[in-house]
């Protein structure tokens, strides 16, 4: 099992979609939401994810394809 801590940022058109539900169901990932701010047209979530490393990577790939911005919880680690 691998653990990941991510911050997801949702664009307006994805707010209504059950993204986190799909992540849990389709990729067999256990999710723990630590902090979130979801408004009518925008939102972000800080989560902890537990799962097989390959499943986590597939889940992250799927999120990105859906248009969710996926960052580490620290956000920009690369500093100019």
């Amino acid at each position: 099992m691998t653990r990941m801590r991510l911050r997801l940022t949702f664009p307006p058109h994805l707010i209504q979609e059950p993204i986190v539900y799909r992540l849990v169901k389709d990729f067999d990932i256990v999710i723990n939401i630590r902090r979130a701010d979801v408004k009518a047209d925008y939102g972000w979530m800080a989560l902890e994810l537990d799962g097989e490393e390959a499943q986590l990577e597939r889940g992250v790939k799927w999120l990105k394809e859906k248009g969710v911005q996926v960052d580490p919880i620290e956000r920009d680690v690369i500093s100019p």
Binding site: R5, T9, R34, R35, D37, K39, Y42, A46, E48, K64, Q69, V70, D71, P72, I73, E74, R75, D76, V77, I78, S79, P80
Partner: protein
């Protein structure tokens, strides 16, 4: 004197001992150093500060260092310059430049944060420091690690130009070029920081590291004669510097070190091509919308700034505002500062000068109030920003008559 209470979560308030951790285990909020101001109040005075060295370490009592300073003994206490020529040009009464383009040793304000982080790393017994960076941070970490005789790992995206890494490589760090998209490299570095017991200066050492920026604010107040200016314009990337300058002012106020009431307004300056914080300020919203950076101001190119919310709060709380600068305006800002004050700043300084000019012209900053413009990096590091903008005016054969002729032509042109 025990001066630290430890760390405190900025979101939920949970307390942690002062160890190398950076996020709250409960809410994933960022941790911040918590000081015992009641104890500090008894020892920190104007006299105790002015008796200290001519460096940022004169404020050591207000920095999270408990032992001796290990590296960067000469960082900070950079000039605060009364910029009369620039003031004339901008039509203002009182303009100051806080000039960290000459910050020792690596020519940007990053030396302030890195010297604290590396000293703290030694204090905690680490033998390796690290960062992921494309510019100023990498220069500074490699330099301070060399001085502290620590191993250093610097991660960079593999497509970074060679010229950019020279000023880092020279200090002999281990440079790791990572192939991949920005996002992939970014996430990998977060995972590396999580896995290895290294002092990743802007990740697990971030609570200590970021405190170093307060020294920039302390210096402004002390150098103005223990008073605060009407306005401070700060270049923002991650958004930490602007929040820490404000924190510095608040700490000095709390310790009774400032003459008169604090009326300073903090203004955020960013490039139009990467300005998520200024966008929050202009739209008056605490929702940060991440962006894909596209600007010549590479040192401010952070698309999803960790301290974006706190930077926004700083402008709100102080009654300040913010302004974007286009690439063209950034170059004009660099040239304006060089032409009027003889200071060659990098693009980040161009952003601040340009933003200041726009805030003054739009009336947000009244022309009769005192203004401090933050110049945080050196122009010699990023000459490429100006390559196609500048060329020699006069080219001549090596003869006196050729020069006489050219000079006459020049005079005729400018007459």
């Amino acid at each position: 004197m025990e001066k630290l209470n430890g760390l405190r979560c900025r979101e939920c308030g949970r307390r942690y001992p002062a160890t190398p951790v950076h996020v709250c285990e409960f809410c994933f909020g960022p941790l911040e150093v918590d000081y015992r101001y009641d104890a500090l109040k008894r020892v920190v005075t104007r006299e105790s500060i002015t008796a200290g060295p001519p460096s940022m370490w004169r404020y050591k009592d207000l920095l999270p260092i408990e032992g001796d300073v290990a590296v960067g003994h000469h960082v900070g206490f950079t000039p605060l310059i009364r910029a009369r020529n620039l003031a004339d040009e901008l039509g203002c009464r009182e303009v100051w430049i806080k000039n960290d383009s000459v910050c020792h040793p690596s020519w940007s304000f990053k030396d302030r944060v890195v010297s604290v982080a590396v000293t703290k790393a030694k204090e905690f017994g680490f033998d390796t420091v690290a960062c992921a960076s494309t510019g100023n941070l990498a220069n500074s970490v490699a330099a301070h690690a060399a001085e502290g005789r620590l191993r250093s790992y610097i991660f960079i995206p593999a497509d970074l130009e060679q010229g950019k890494v020279l000023a880092t490589l020279v200090y002999n760090p281990t440079l790791v070029a990572v192939h991949g998209t920005y996002d992939e490299v970014n996430r990998l570095c977060s995972e590396i920081a999580d896995k290895y017991r290294w002092a990743f200066v802007n990740v697990n050492f971030r609570p200590y590291y970021s405190e170093g920026s307060k020294s920039y604010g302390f210096e402004i107040v002390e150098q103005l004669g223990w008073r605060t200016p009407g306005h401070i314009i700060v270049p923002c990337a991650g958004g930490s510097l602007i929040a820490k300058i404000w924190k510095a002012i608040k700490e000095f106020e709390q310790l009774g070190l400032i003459d008169g009431p604090v009326t300073t307004k903090m203004h955020a300056a960013q490039a139009l091509g990467c300005g998520p914080i200024v966008t929050m300020v202009k739209n008056d919203t605490d929702v940060l919308v991440p962006v894909r950076p596209n600007t010549i101001a590479k040192s401010l190119a952070i698309g999803n700034p960790a301290d974006g919310y706190y930077a926004y709060r700083t402008t709100k709380e102080s009654g300040g505002f913010g302004e974007h600068a286009t690439d063209e305006e950034i170059v004009e800002g660099m040239l304006l500062l060089a032409r009027t004050e003889g200071i060659f700043t990098e693009t980040a300084g161009g952003v601040t000068v340009a933003a200041a000019k726009k805030l003054i012209e739009s009336g947000v900053i009244p022309r009769d109030e005192s203004i401090v413009i933050c110049v945080t990096g050196n122009g010699l590091k990023t000459p490429d920003a100006l390559y196609d903008r500048l060329e020699a005016h006069v080219k001549i054969k090596p003869s006196l008559s050729a020069f006489d002729k050219a000079l006459a032509e020049l005079k005729a042109q400018t007459a």
